[in-house]
Amino acid sequence: MSSGETIIRVDGFTAAYNGQVILNRLSFEVHRGEVFVILGGSGCGKSTLLKHMIGLYAPAAGTILIDGHNISTAEGDERQQVLRKFGVMYQSGALFGSMTVLDNVCLPLQEFTNLPLDAIRVIASMKLQRVGLGGFDHHMPSELSGGMQKRAAIARAMALDPQVLFLDEPSAGLDPITSAELDELILSLARSLKITFVIVSHELASIFAIADRVIMLDKSVKGIVATGKPKELREHSDNAWVRQFFSRQASTDNPA
């Protein structure tokens, strides 16, 4: 659970592609240990926000601090240090197709540690076991189902024991059952390993199941329309549209 201590601070952040502003002056914080969900309709800039938070793009304005380090300006050793604080699961999984699942998880360990190869194999295998993929070590990514690929991607993201895991649309393209299993995995990792999660999602059912706090982005304001716990937003948001949005699924999936 959240300790209230800030691990990611986004301040006055503006994102633009070719001069066209996508997100305008966003500010929010993510607390250590919480499951933080970024929610919003298609094309409102969720992936854009995520890709800036993990340092793939530099913000047009504002700052993003991860554990006190500015991800967009960090270079050299400081950059490597920041990069090791988090792992990312991309929307498509982004496993390296030419390597086995185990080698995918071994890769970050080989590059960043001095551990002997057999130790690395054991550690990687342990991570795969933890996400429910014991026995799939020597499969190629293409031999796994969509849900399994995402689990493997989570295992790879966890290879170096990061403090934060970023997940881009974990439930995209999954059936509701597989998606619910993935939610359970996320919850159990958050609870037992105290990993902070930053998750892009638009699945209300999954948000109610896992999110400690959400921010809701909207295209029309190019920014945040709501922040808070999902249940509170459903009951007490000042914005009628937000209340309605959160009640929609709740009435069918989540009779409170």
Partner: protein, 377 residues
């Protein structure tokens, strides 16, 4: 084909004191709206009347195209601040009209507009300039990565390098051998036909020796490499880009240039000269076959060859091959990294890799020719 019964007809009156009267009779449907559309929009545009009275009381049918005409006429009127009044529209068509009139467009971002020729030329010029800029930046990054790799050979991904070298080199051997041999045969034969007139067929050996070692060997190898491996590099890396694997590398702190480009460039660097030696050998063999068929013993051919070519020719060709190998691998990787999103992007990158690869080879060959000319004269 159904014959049009009762096709729509347009009657007009005016404009008189600011009022244009129009009437449409009959069936206003997709088959018959065309003539009425042209006529009525022309009248309304020309009149610029304050009021257009449109009488449709005797219009007995109207489909989507008819409704579109009504909406279009109203728009034309609104454009200059006039009004359109529709009389006698049947309730069911009124409903259709109301339904199609509602809805609004979002303020979408500016869509790509079709551009004029001059603008297009300018845009392309800027693109080419940007491309050159990116190429130079990339060469810098690559150079840096290669220097780093040379200083810390442990960081090179040797296993990948060996696998790629096998694919680039060993697997290309049959086609390089076959094409070089055939080109050798063809060139020798062509030369023999010309030289026979002077009774100088023996000089076919000189020609084959020089042209194969200096030009054909490296060039054939490089072009085959551009088609086989340059395109493959672009496709592999482009697919990784589309599948966010490049992003994954970056956030893992692994530089794509070190991780993906260096092994490919190293593999090409080593394999191109080796393949070129094979191409040289097979090209000369092709020439020797022709010479033997002309009645010259093999020993005579090789003796003449020895007189004609020096180690300089061989080494000059191999130095070129080195350069071609780097160029092809680098441009293939760059095109892969430049891949944009979307299903057709990888195909485009692959094409670009081959085209740019061949252009670069020819340019570089020209530069080498000048340098060698200055050195050897």
């Amino acid at each position: 084909m159904v014959t049009i019964v009762n096709a729509a007809k347009l009657r007009s009156d005016g404009p008189r004191s600011g009022v244009l009267k129009l009437a449409i009779d009959g069936r206003l449907d997709a088959d018959s709206t065309g003539p009425v559309w042209r006529e009525s929009t022309r009248l309304v545009t020309a009149a610029r009347a304050n009021n257009v009275d449109l009488d449709v009381a005797s219009m007995d049918y109207c489909d989507g195209s008819g409704i579109a005409l009504l909406i279009q006429l109203r728009r034309l009127q609104q454009k200059h601040g006039g009004k359109l009044e529709i009389h006698g529209l049947r309730p069911e068509f009124q409903e259709l009209l109301d339904d199609w009139s509602q809805g609004s467009g979002e303020t979408a971002p500016k869509a790509k507009v079709r551009t004029q020729l001059v603008e297009e030329v300018g845009r392309r010029a800027v693109e080419v300039w940007r491309d050159i800029h990116e190429l130079i930046t990339f060469v810098g990054q690559l150079g840096l990565a290669l220097v780093k790799a040379a200083r810390h050979p442990r960081t090179i991904r040797w296993r990948d390098t060996v696998l790629i070298a096998e694919e680039v080199g060993v697997n290309a051997l049959p086609i390089v051998a076959m094409l070089s041999f055939l080109v050798g045969v063809i060139m020798a034969f062509q030369a023999a036909v010309a030289l026979r007139q002077f009774g100088a067929e023996i000089f076919v050996a000189n020609m084959i020796g020089l042209s194969v070692l200096r030009e054909m060997g490296p060039l054939m190898t490089a072009i085959i490499l551009a088609g086989r491996s340059g395109s493959a590099f672009a496709a592999e890396i482009g697919t990784m880009k589309v599948r966010e694997e490049i992003d994954a590398l970056k956030t893992m702190g692994l530089e794509p240039v070190r991780f993906l480009v260096v092994p490919r460039v190293l593999a090409a660097l080593v394999m191109t000269p080796v393949l070129t030696v094979f191409a040289d050998l097979l090209g000369v063999m092709g020439g020797s076959v022709v010479m033997m068929s002309l009645g010259f013993p093999l020993i005579t051919f090789f003796h003449q060859l020895q007189l004609a070519v020096s180690y300089g020719s061989l080494v000059g060709g191999l130095v070129k091959a080195f350069a071609f190998g780097i160029l092809i691998a680098a441009i293939g990787c760059l095109r892969g990294l430049q891949t944009e999103n979307g299903a057709s992007a990888v195909g485009l990158s692959t094409t670009h890799a081959v085209v740019s690869g061949i252009i670069l080879i020819v340019f570089a060959d020209g530069i080498f020719t000048i340098i060698y000319y200055l050195l050897w004269v």
